[in-house]
Symmetry: D2
Subunit: 377 residues, 4 copies
Amino acid sequence: MKKILKLGIVGGGPGSWIGNIHRISSGIDGKYKICAGSFSRNVKTSSSFGSSLNLNKDRCYSNYKTMADRESEREDGIDVVAIMTPPGSHQIIAEYFIKKNFHVISDKPFASTYDQAKKLYSTIKKNKKIIYGLTHNYSAYPMVRMAKKLVKDGKIGNIEFVNVEYVQDWSNGIEVTKKNSKKIFRWKLDKNVVGSSAVLNEIGTHAYHLANYISGLKGSSLFADIKKFNKKINLDNNAQVLLNYENGAKGMFWTCISAKGGNYGLRIRIFGSKGSLEWVQNDPNYLRLNPSKGAVKILEKGFHEADFSKNFARVKSGHPEGYVDAFANIYNEVADHINSKDNKKIRYYPTAHEGLLTAKFIQTCIDSSRKKKWLKF
Amino acid sequence: MKKILKLGIVGGGPGSWIGNIHRISSGIDGKYKICAGSFSRNVKTSSSFGSSLNLNKDRCYSNYKTMADRESEREDGIDVVAIMTPPGSHQIIAEYFIKKNFHVISDKPFASTYDQAKKLYSTIKKNKKIIYGLTHNYSAYPMVRMAKKLVKDGKIGNIEFVNVEYVQDWSNGIEVTKKNSKKIFRWKLDKNVVGSSAVLNEIGTHAYHLANYISGLKGSSLFADIKKFNKKINLDNNAQVLLNYENGAKGMFWTCISAKGGNYGLRIRIFGSKGSLEWVQNDPNYLRLNPSKGAVKILEKGFHEADFSKNFARVKSGHPEGYVDAFANIYNEVADHINSKDNKKIRYYPTAHEGLLTAKFIQTCIDSSRKKKWLKF
Amino acid sequence: MKKILKLGIVGGGPGSWIGNIHRISSGIDGKYKICAGSFSRNVKTSSSFGSSLNLNKDRCYSNYKTMADRESEREDGIDVVAIMTPPGSHQIIAEYFIKKNFHVISDKPFASTYDQAKKLYSTIKKNKKIIYGLTHNYSAYPMVRMAKKLVKDGKIGNIEFVNVEYVQDWSNGIEVTKKNSKKIFRWKLDKNVVGSSAVLNEIGTHAYHLANYISGLKGSSLFADIKKFNKKINLDNNAQVLLNYENGAKGMFWTCISAKGGNYGLRIRIFGSKGSLEWVQNDPNYLRLNPSKGAVKILEKGFHEADFSKNFARVKSGHPEGYVDAFANIYNEVADHINSKDNKKIRYYPTAHEGLLTAKFIQTCIDSSRKKKWLKF
Amino acid sequence: MKKILKLGIVGGGPGSWIGNIHRISSGIDGKYKICAGSFSRNVKTSSSFGSSLNLNKDRCYSNYKTMADRESEREDGIDVVAIMTPPGSHQIIAEYFIKKNFHVISDKPFASTYDQAKKLYSTIKKNKKIIYGLTHNYSAYPMVRMAKKLVKDGKIGNIEFVNVEYVQDWSNGIEVTKKNSKKIFRWKLDKNVVGSSAVLNEIGTHAYHLANYISGLKGSSLFADIKKFNKKINLDNNAQVLLNYENGAKGMFWTCISAKGGNYGLRIRIFGSKGSLEWVQNDPNYLRLNPSKGAVKILEKGFHEADFSKNFARVKSGHPEGYVDAFANIYNEVADHINSKDNKKIRYYPTAHEGLLTAKFIQTCIDSSRKKKWLKF
């Protein structure tokens, strides 16, 4: 029998939708078995939730430290911890588990402030045996990987413009007032929980990561304009950023959580000297390739010129894959890395270093918007 | 701890892609545990494949009958069998397990001929305690369920036209010759394995089922034109059918396995007295609703007017779901039915009766095409 | 100064929308000047309408025969007549003008019955100096011409399937009753005016023509099912046809005037041994090319691989053209043919022969639907 | 007979594609007759080109001043002049004709610098009897007018975000070098001809105008980043702008002439408190309306909820209109204004005031990009 990784979970208890996504994703390829969890600070809640997942009661914890301590003492203790708490605690929890020698899969953002990010990154770098994966799940769609491959292979030439946006409407169509804002945005209004910027930490982080992931570029300077919802609601809800990339390319970035009718979602376009690419998350199995000469091509997952995408697909050509399938790719790839540390293999899952760069971008956005200046980063 | 159903598998061994889909689908909601399997007629193959799934060797069988016999004797024997062999054996295997009182989840088609279908249906009807689910998986997409709901609620009025097609290219772009046809079509050339009609049993069955599933209508007469690939290759590859539905609606049906560039896939349009609906599997999270008065609406999974679709979704609005998510819905619903036989609950998974009707449709197509006549069915 | 053709018009008076289209189309390229017209059987109406077009009163007629007679006697008489009356009179008017040696541009259908069509065709063949153009305007879109070129150049190989439909809702969303049907369908209920079949003569004729125009194929046999609106309304509103083409290709054809929410319009797909094409009139500046190997291509008017389409475009790449632009192409091409009868030049406008074939198709549909048999044609 | 306006043309001679568009547009509704023109500074060229348009030789001029002088002296002199020269001369020519009491239709931009714009605007204001129309033709598409109407009627509530872009590739896929740049960009490299900014004057001006036209808003401050093609080619090719609108809305603006594969074209999205709108010029007959509650609606020209768009359409629902049809709307509306100066009528064609605001926007972009500061305007 092949080795199945024993997985522990922190967060993701009753009412957490991302918790369910992590659990399903960990199970899809049969490489993990959930063995322990700290699902709530309330003992009973954590225990009853763990039972619903068929965990033994003695492995249902109400405190992540206890969990790390006990699991590191058990012979059959977990191999990997998956962290899916709100952003503010990602760093502290991850560090605690890393120091106990557990591998980590963390929900995004890497950390909720740049300071936290630097600390966590340093801890990870010091513990070289630890595998750390960050669930920037959009980067794991088969056609995003295809896009990355096309860029790397020079199919669109030198990159000249990057245009990315992630535009949602968290109000679900309801008019937001000071009164109902707590209910609608839940913990997003609390800086200690959400971190430096709600809109940037929650969805902007995905957009910036995706742009770098596909383009292989890093931003070098930016000019940002971040807006609060309004005077009464202490929540930044919109960020618009002009960017320079290290290779001289220009960028535009937009993220918003209050764009009414904004199910446009996550959309990226990259223009190079030989053509351009477009990918839209709402329709993730397609990739639009506009060569500078020749007709526009619609690459579809698994078909012909998108053959490379099959490496990240479970279902045949013509059969769509979705959010969960991409999310599961990250779990799958982290498991493979843990099980076989072949240094020559190309790894596709998002790393701590990518998390650090994203945190730096967010901090620079905040500073630039305040100073109304171009800032290097 | 909640009861997890013990699942046995027949078929789906090495090289079977549908096997992997069934296994993933059974695991997603944590309601099944694979405990036994007959993955190959070769003892060693079945055993080694079972091991890769962490099965005990004594529950890896090389014969479905032995599996049914032994599992029925075990105290910890399976509750449900999932059948994913080629069409020709669906009926005989299903009947054997039903007679041993196992619940059945079967891959489509229900049976490979109408005669087989009638036998199997009769056996199922006699064993009233048995739950039988048929994985016409397309009918389990959230937006297909939404479409069914809109029709049922009268949102498009009385149905007047049904237009459905499932158009693929199995050659994957290669020119098919007598020489390479065996390799490309594998067992699809053998009537004993594929049944009465390759194109109709393999993909046409999905299209006809989907039309009936959403419309709630049954066909009453049809005129069909089935074509063989060519004189040299004994495989029917194209079927075009004109239909009358029991309510007077007209229908058009097209299925093809050799439509070059045919990744258009599965597409259905239903026109009623108050408007029309369109759904396309390649883009499954959307449903187009054209009211006879008023602007076209694009309903998207989970959003606003498509609220009902949330009942069949695991992921938030704006986050696409795919083939596997829909497939898993059928496993989920069959499990719920087994676990709670509340007769008042509306069941959405496809049933034996639907399988029987589809088999009858296929047989009538074959007869009509031969006789060049409209035939009632 | 270049020669501008003097154009006379029959039909297209007050309230006729197609009249306006013909007039605009004739003017766009500056090759015609409207000089005479018979816009109504009522003298005053015809005269006042002609005045609004700046015609002299003595060239505003109330009878097409008088117009043909007088204009043939004038030194400055018209060169070309454009006929835009209801279908039932196309043949008789065209023949009268042809016999007076006028060139003819006629609105479709060629004639309202196959008998009429044969007569008209014979008259045209006898008058070899006469140029006759038929405004099957959809065939004049730049990307339809592009499609025809790709087929001719073998880019999709041997054609195997043709799928065409033209699906409208003439009721504009209103429930049609016996009472309001006269208002909604105007003269379409009168066989003497509309001809053999309303749905086929009015829109089906476009769809069949388009299929042949692009594919270069002729149908050889068909099986049709034509439906009347209902028992109370004597109007055929739906026709579904299975086809065999002369080269062995299979075809499906659907046309309907009562498909609620049916602004899907005119759509054609042609599948060959090397790939397939799709064109949709609602979005006419694009052509989808699905090669059997390689990614789907979206050819856009004027861009790169669609360079050939520039021959039929007036506006730069990236700037859409529409219905009127295509319609004007036919006027333009007929003018060029009249002005320069170079026999080596490829002519793209639809001809009398194409009109004859379409009339034959319609008659065969009517016969097949009645006899419930495959019929050769 | 109704009064037909006598039209004179300045510019648009041999090789000018916009010249042909103006001529076709002026003719479509039969409200203008081209009577005079100054098509080239070369006497012979102007004369032979005029002949090809059936103009008398004595009304073919080689100098716009002579044309204005002579035509103002003739009894049958022109009523309106249409200016379609490169941007640098728009102002001086328009002023000359205005002072001679001719109505003016001018191609965009209003003027090539803000200084010129102020002068021209002042001249127009002083000559109150003169009608001045600016061919910001995109604003005349039926579905743009529909969008403007929806905004005005409050259907999307208070506007919060405006996102507009016009992204082209003038190189037509060719690699641009210093050597070939003169050929590719023709006069666009010469500031005296193109004005303050090539990318902004040529296409950015359309995008900014469109945003204001639909939203009914004016920008109040902006931060711009304008980029030159490269060090060797003295041409600004890319402009990215962050905007604040007077009502507090945020805006993003992008225009580029060197976005390889950039046939994405002109695209605008406006988000309000009750929903959002999206319109894309490549597919101009549709308007996407995303209500904050309820399903996305696709409004199509002429259909149902887009009934208002019929006021600006010549062709029936389901039949696409394009660039020329929209362009002709401006000619049509200017003619109507000239012919009937009813002050109560709502006028839709773009005016001098809109031109002035656009010129101010462009100047402010240039200043902001240089100073790297937010600037009010």
